[in-house]
């Protein structure tokens, strides 16, 4: 596969690994912000290949994991309304809310359908005019413009029964909130590759400027990640933190201007609730007033019972990089993918799910 296989070349990878070993002298903590990076790192066994000076922490970049129980409960409440079809990415099905999950709601008769694209949700709405279709808008800046496009397309085509529950979140604000908590001593951040394809590199500039932390925007193939680690170590060893793009084939410094315009047109930044972190200002996307017809929160009466948090669940601390899945007493015991206590164990990008599934043999 072009543009994938070349970036998995073993010979080149081994040279990068050797260079990192040569260059890295100081013990450092690097955070891979994005859950997709945590998975890629574990899948290819990259942690084992790095020198012991480098510690990798996983961060809150898993949109399903950081969705608060209150928001999950809203989605499940919507599923139980009559004549509503819930459309969602597959990840959300098994995530436990305060009392239930979408999968359970479906087993009890709710019409919940997994879609690969928000576009498919609009199609479902078009062929089911007598029902209301609600799409669960979970994701970061990578997904936000696609949802904006779907709302504009629905409006263009006169599809009036399509709605979105916007649970979209923004990365730079939560990175700031995390750093302000000051719980971990980070030297560098592996920045999300596809979020950056949309937002570019400028939004991260505050990180080296204010916190003196190195930032490198990374792709997801093994060579991409190794190059990123190499570039971070170089910055750290030279004590010259800045924002660099390792993923140059996918990310331009200015991002995707067209996609950014779409987001701006349909959404506005608002406060959002992040699991493990709490409310963060201007870190979520709310649908603008002129598109409120498409806003599920405005259209439907959502009544849910008081929020409950699962006892003993360490998802919050794990998302902040303060603890690892192995620190959680429930990990692999009461909390496993078949019956998860928290979302981190069941999301395809969740740290706990990744550790459980790929756990290195030496641990």
């Amino acid at each position: 596969m072009k543009l994938i296989d070349e970036f998995r070349d073993v010979k080149l990878g081994k040279k990068l690994i050797a260079k990192i070993h040569q260059t890295s002298t100081k013990p450092v903590k690097l955070m891979e912000f994005c859950g997709g990076h945590t998975v890629a790192i574990l899948k290819h066994g990259i942690r084992q290949l790095l020198p012991p000076t480098i510690e990798m922490l996983s961060g809150p970049g898993c949109p399903v994991c950081v969705t608060a129980n209150a928001d999950l409960d809203k989605a499940i409440a919507l599923a139980k309304l009559p004549n509503v079809i819930i459309t969602t990415f597959g990840d959300m099905m098994k995530v436990p809310g305060s009392y239930s999950s979408l999968q359970e709601a479906k087993a009890q008769g709710a019409d919940v359908r997994i879609v690969y694209s928000v576009h498919d949700a609009v199609d479902i709405a078009a062929v089911n005019p007598q029902k209301s279709v609600v799409f669960l808008g979970i994701g970061f800046e990578t997904t936000a413009p696609t949802i904006a496009a779907s709302i504009l397309e629905a409006r263009q085509n006169g599809v009036r029964n399509f709605h979105v529950l916007s649970l979209l979140k923004l990365c730079p604000p939560v990175m700031k909130a995390l750093l302000d908590l000051g719980e971990i001593e980070l030297s560098g951040i592996v920045c999300p590759g596809h979020v950056s394809a949309i937002i570019g590199s400028h939004p991260y500039e505050f990180i080296p400027e204010q916190y003196k932390i190195a930032c490198v925007i990374s792709g997801f193939e093994p060579l991409d990640i190794l190059l990123t680690v190499d570039m971070l170590i170089e910055q750290i060893e030279r004590d010259k933190p800045t924002v660099e793009i390792a993923y140059r084939r996918g990310v331009k410094p200015e991002g995707n201007i067209h996609a950014l315009k779409l987001i701006e047109q349909v959404f506005e930044a608002d406060s959002a609730n992040w699991r493990g972190i709490g409310a963060v200002t201007k870190s979520g996307l709310k649908i603008r007033k002129q598109y409120e017809h498409f806003d599920a929160e405005k259209v439907f009466p959502i009544v849910s019972a008081p929020v409950r948090e699962a006892k003993g669940c360490l998802c919050g601390e794990i998302l902040r990089g303060v603890k690892t899945p192995h620190d959680c007493k429930l990990f692999g015991q009461t909390c496993v993918p078949e019956h998860p206590v928290g979302p981190c164990m069941v999301s395809s990008e969740g740290a706990c799910a990744a550790y459980f599934h790929f756990g290195a043999s030496h641990e």
Binding site: D9, K15, L16, F140, A149, H194, V251, K252, H258
Partner: protein, 75 residues
Amino acid sequence: MCLAVPVRIVSIEGTNAEVEIGGVRRQVSLWLTPEARVGDYVLLHTGYAITVIDEAEAEQTLKLFEEMATIDEAH
């Protein structure tokens, strides 16, 4: 969910394109990348092309790895 796959545009019709990777084909939306042309590689995320891939940069990055390899071997 942040995952996107590089695919090649085979044909375009309006705001939709047919793309191909390893012989597998799919329809995708070009709403986010109206500048994309047939033959371009794009990153596909949940049914939308989110950016046109810069193949020249891809070549450069690979060249960078090759050069790194050569420098190292010289030691």
